[in-house]
Amino acid sequence: MDVRAQVSMVFHLDKCIGCHTCSVACKNVWTDRRGAEYMWWNNVETKPGTGYPTGWEDQSKYKGGFEKKEDGLELRAVGKVRGALTVFHNPNFPVIDDYYEPFTFDYQNLFDAKEGADQPIARPVSMITGKPMEIESGPNWDDDLAGSKHYAAHDPNLANVSAEEREALFDIERLVFFYLPRICNHCLNPSCVAACPSGALYKRGEDGIVLLNQERCRAWRFCVTACPYKKTYFNWSTGKSEKCILCYPRLESGQAPACFHSCVGRIRYLGMVLYDADRIEQVAQTEDHDLVDAQRSLILDPNDPKVIADAKRNGISDDVIASAQRSPVYRYVIEWGLALPLHAEHRTLPMLFYVPPLLPVMAQKSENGHYDTTHDDFLGSIDQYRLPLQYMASMFGAGNEAPVRYALRKQLAVRYYRRAVTTGDIPQEQADRLLKEAGCTPEEADRIYHLTALAPFDDRFVIPPMHREEAIEMLDEPLEAKGFAGMGIRKRPERGA
């Protein structure tokens, strides 16, 4: 057993209000630069929707992730042989128009315009060419189902949804959607790393953060194609790829990443998990149906004495193990089984997990055309929910409904239970029965409630000690490295000749 530590994440989608504060926090800290204007290392999408870049989930176009072949895993479009064949022109490489042309507005015109009959306006200006442009797209162009006929109707996850369900979905399309915030998943089997011919992309051993060495990147661009989540971006000005760094300089100084810290809905959780690196290859080749469970089986119990002993033997320090024992991610993903990986079928073993949203039907159109908001049952049953279970399963279950159903049922049971406890308008027997059916005890329900609804800052973010001092110790003269934050480049990233 090769025990390693990974900074892992949970996003609780039932709590996301789609305010984009996370995106803006990230943008202000990291991507407010030339060539990076279009990049949103963190973005928030409306589902159903085509997202950013448009249709990123459509792997028949972008060819991201791994495919299971008879003799093991293979990158869908790139990799050693196919990469060599497409090095001069990569047919599966998204271009800027798949994202959007970044724009600003000519505000100066508001001050400088000559006096005339009309009010002066601030025309949109391209941030690439500096010329006036027509805005045709944006990073959240289909926000809140805007233009859903063009966007939401083409959501690839609807492929397995029956025609009837699809019709029902869009019959009430103005009512049903949820938000999907996305950052780099810092995968255990990252396809971007596997595709990078320069060896610029790597996984940090101590914490599993996937980073891209700007000084080794040569713009072969395979990482962008290989990532099924389209979370590596190409900087068109510097000619280097870039990606989410999980704010590692912040983590190393004990702060939560900017998008986590700024989250208004408090949907984000961060903590260390221990996993068995020996089994990655085997688990990544599990059949789709069992993939989610197999991936979760990689994560080890941080309280198991054998795991602790193996972790110590691998150089994981006591305080990191203690941090893993307090990890909110371990609770959601393993103990409670509430959080699921996004699109596990690409076999990159993403380490960002999502608690699927409940989206209960609170009102239905009755025969006389009115909305009937009274319900026999408090929240109804999962199968009546507005987004078909199969839709959720294609996002969070690699096509398998079972883990999604389990997570939704348990959430629902906890809600009934807490309703019974706090307001008493639901019979205690019913709440207990639902809990039992969902495989949950009242004590566990209380813990879920506490971490979901109350969630103090230090419970949501259990940031492990990153032990940068040990990296410095490896140098001969520690004082020479004084002031180095580990940021890599210490000069302006200017475009090469």
């Binding site: 001069f88 690439i128 000619g239 000749a497």
Partner: protein, 229 residues
């Protein structure tokens, strides 16, 4: 005098520049090593430029290299007219591919406002030198037959003499003007090489073919590798 400068001095200046600047740049300015791909801003036209350009250029490079390394074998090969014709035709096709690709790339770059904004002066320099080389090369191939035959006993011995630090410029100074331009252009190209985006050739990712798929880097040594732990 001018001939000495162009055929005996320029080569050494070019090679020294190539070596020193490449090494210095690799060590001190690794961030600037990039192919600076512009596919992100324009992909459709790039296919018709980049693919023929690169394939043609690689073929031409190896064609010249083989002639330089194995001149007598090339002469022997050319002994049979059919084989000479095959060699010349292949070279011509490679040259035309490169020309088509380069013209495609230049047209593409001029036609797109996004690309124009992202074009540096060294890019223009690269285009100019390469264009001169390809045009003169094709001119030689078509106008002074058969290039592959006389290349091996004019330019090749000259190149070897340069390599032996005893340049015999008399082997090339009498060549047609186009051929002399081609040679001077080649040295200029070598000299400019390491100042441009062409350095991506030096870091072509060949080791990727046998590298393990995943890459993990540890900030510190893992303790179990240390003695006593």
């Amino acid at each position: 005098m001018l001939n000495t400068l162009l055929f005996a001095v320029l080569p050494y200046v070019a090679v020294v520049l190539f070596l020193l600047v490449s090494i210095h740049r690799y060590r001190k300015e690794p961030f600037t090593f990039s192919s600076l791909s512009s596919q992100f801003l324009e992909s459709r036209q790039l296919f018709w430029g980049s693919v023929p350009f690169h394939i043609g250029l690689v073929l031409l490079f190896f064609g010249h290299l083989i002639g330089f390394l194995f001149p007598s074998q090339v002469t022997m090969w050319n002994g049979v007219p059919v084989r000479l014709f095959i060699l010349e035709a292949s070279g011509l096709i490679a040259g035309l591919l490169t020309l088509v690709g380069l013209v495609g790339l230049i047209v593409r770059r001029l036609g797109s406002a996004r690309l124009r904004i992202n074009t540096s002066s060294t890019d223009i320099g690269v285009y100019l030198v390469l264009m001169v080389q390809i045009v003169t090369g094709l001119w030689i191939a078509l106008g002074y037959r058969w290039g592959s035959a006389w290349y091996t006993h004019t330019a090749v011995p000259y190149l070897w003499s340069v390599a032996r630090f005893a340049p015999e410029i008399e082997r090339v100074v009498e060549l047609p003007l186009v051929a002399r331009i081609h040679i001077v252009g080649a040295w200029t190209f070598v000299g400019l090489f390491s100042f441009t985006r062409l350095v991506h050739l030096l870091v072509a990712p060949v080791p990727y073919l046998w590298r393990p798929v995943q890459l993990v880097i540890w900030n510190r040594e893992r303790r179990h590798r240390r003695p006593g732990n």
